[in-house]
């Protein structure tokens, strides 16, 4: 995988988030403030524009860092700094190499998770991004370490993200706006976990196309 992979992944994220914009907003309306769809769309549109302007010889790690910085600089809201720092950390983990392999991808996503947890201090079960990203990273690592083909391991990660996303429904939120609702947050799917599952699905498609 290389800069083109990062490029296609980010564009796939932009497309699918824009498509699901209203759905994400509806989820956020139920337990938040109805802006998650707009926030993520604005951010990933800006990421696309940023990548358009990038030198073709930018290493993939740098490209990912730029994507992260762009999210930080354009999203606002909770999801901006969280996913922004996450992608920045992921890019940093990839270092300056021109390519990366499955293990590199695991390290990158693991770094993203750590960055998000470090900044947001969410624990598993708090009904956040972490509840989709955590299981996804674990599944990806397990698949890669077990020697599965990368496309399969990434599919496992996407499935785990979606399961994690659905598993947020019965949870009572303990982080973010939804936590203000107390018990009334129960019964609703977390918007951030949902966009996270979209990001993993975009990765799955990207990797599948390359295999």
């Amino acid at each position: 995988m290389n800069t083109e992979t990062v490029n296609r992944w980010m564009r796939a994220c932009a497309a699918s988030i824009a498509e699901q914009r209203d759905y994400l907003t509806q989820l956020d309306a139920a337990i938040g403030d109805a802006d998650h769809g707009a926030n993520m769309t604005r951010g990933f549109n800006a990421v696309e524009a940023k990548l358009d302007g990038l030198d073709s010889d930018t290493p993939p790690g740098r490209a990912l860092m730029q994507a992260g910085s762009t999210l930080v600089s354009t999203v606002g809201g909770a999801s901006g700094p969280l996913w922004g720092s996450g992608l920045r950390r992921a890019g940093k983990a990839l270092g300056d190499g021109d390519t990366f392999d499955g293990a590199g991808l695991v390290a990158a996503l693991d770094a993203a998770l750590s960055g998000i947890v470090e900044l947001g201090a969410a624990e598993p079960g708090d009904k956040t991004i972490v509840d989709a990203l955590g299981p996804a990273v674990a599944a990806l690592r397990a698949g890669v370490e077990a020697g599965k083909p990368l496309a399969e391991a990434v599919t496992d990660a996407r499935v785990a993200a979606e399961e994690g996303m659905r598993a947020t429904i019965p949870l009572q939120a303990r982080k973010g706006r939804a936590s203000y609702l107390g018990e009334r947050s129960v019964g609703h799917q977390d918007p951030g976990a949902t966009s996270t599952a979209l990001i993993m699905a975009a990765l799955e498609r990207t990797v599948a196309e390359e295999s």
């Binding site: 707009a38 909770a78 303990r174 973010g176 936590s179 009334r184």
Partner: protein
């Protein structure tokens, strides 16, 4: 029968340009008082940076007007950063604001306690410090409707933010150091508590439909300022009963007792007529008076709003001579002046 509108009409050209279009209006309407950095969506005190004065920066999602841009001016904020509606601004904006108001005595960030605001201001403070500007941050979390526990993101920042901006602004204007100004801001946060109720929901410009639906005889109790549902839903009740219900957790959290003196701030959430706010204020003074608590200062009006939401919040600030004096100090902003 529902009291919610299916579609909320708004005066705008395009949801995407709503905030910059309004900022352009502020720039013209208050040209003598502020300048507006359109690229960064900042409302900046006209004469900033004021040399030797601690700079005060606040900001947050739009849709709470006059907060924060209406509070920029002598004796209050030096700059306000505007995000998209209900969405925190980004660190870049906040860092630019910090630079623009740095008069050499450091800059205070006044942050409402929402995950987005806190995280973005945190990254902004890091950027500003990279630029060699000393920054302190005070996070406001005065909303007693949310328990401050391990199980939430903590209490929300609501009405006390207005009071903190006024009082910290007065301290800075009087020559207070960054530590002094941050200290008094923290003191307002410790001594101020709020509680809000909503009679209707509100709609963000990009969605166009109300965030929640409310039957004709019900209200949301314990709401914040982002159109979010409250802690619970109740039947509508007479103003005197409602005020009693709202004051109780505030009075008990602040441990107010007979003989104490407070500032009472009755705030409209945007869609509630002033007539009702004065009526509520009257209930507040009656209720507190019966408990022997004296309302020595007051503020009544739409100051920290939630778009067109009908509803109100009540904030009480326990007063002492220091806070009273700083509250009384002159202020000259678009929305608050004396």
């Amino acid at each position: 029968m529902s009291t919610q509108a299916a579609v909320v009409k708004k005066f705008m050209n395009d949801p995407e340009t709503m905030v910059p279009d309004a900022l352009a209006g502020i720039a013209t309407a208050h040209a003598g008082l502020v300048r507006v950095d359109m690229a960064n969506q900042l409302v900046i005190r006209a004469d900033a940076p004021v040399s030797g004065k601690v700079g005060l920066v606040s900001g947050g999602g739009s849709g709470h007007e006059p907060l924060h841009g209406g509070f920029v001016g002598a004796g209050m904020l030096d700059a306000a950063c505007a995000g998209a509606v209900f969405t925190s601004p980004v660190p870049d904006q906040m860092a630019e604001a910090t630079k623009a108001v740095n008069g050499g005595a450091g800059v205070l960030h006044i942050v409402k306690n929402y995950t987005g605001d806190v995280l973005n201001f945190k990254l902004a403070a890091e950027l500003a410090e990279d630029d060699g500007i000393e920054v302190q941050s005070v996070v406001l979390d005065d909303d007693v409707a949310v328990q401050d526990s391990l199980y939430t993101a903590g209490r929300r920042g609501t009405g006390a933010t207005v009071l903190a901006e006024k009082i910290a602004g007065a301290k800075a204007e009087a020559g207070g150091s960054l530590a002094d100004v941050a200290g008094i801001c923290r003191k307002v946060n410790e001594h101020g508590r709020s509680f809000g109720v909503a009679l209707t929901s509100c709609a963000t410009p990009s969605s166009g439909t109300p965030i929640f639906d409310l039957p004709a005889d019900e209200i949301e109790v314990g709401v914040g300022i982002h159109g979010e549902p409250g802690r619970r839903r109740e039947k509508m009740k007479p103003a005197s009963d409602l005020v009693e219900e709202m004051l109780e957790p505030i009075v008990s959290d602040l441990k107010l007792a007979k003989g104490d003196s407070v500032l009472a701030f009755v705030n409209g959430l945007g869609g509630t007529p002033l007539l009702e706010l004065y009526l509520l204020f009257n209930e507040v003074t009656k209720n507190l008076g019966a408990q022997g608590i004296s309302v020595d200062r007051s503020l009544v009006g739409n100051y920290i709003t939630s778009l067109e939401m009908a509803g109100c919040s009540i904030t009480l600030l326990r007063l002492d001579d220091e806070l009273t004096g700083l509250w009384d100090a002159p202020v000259k902003t678009a929305a608050l002046r004396w």
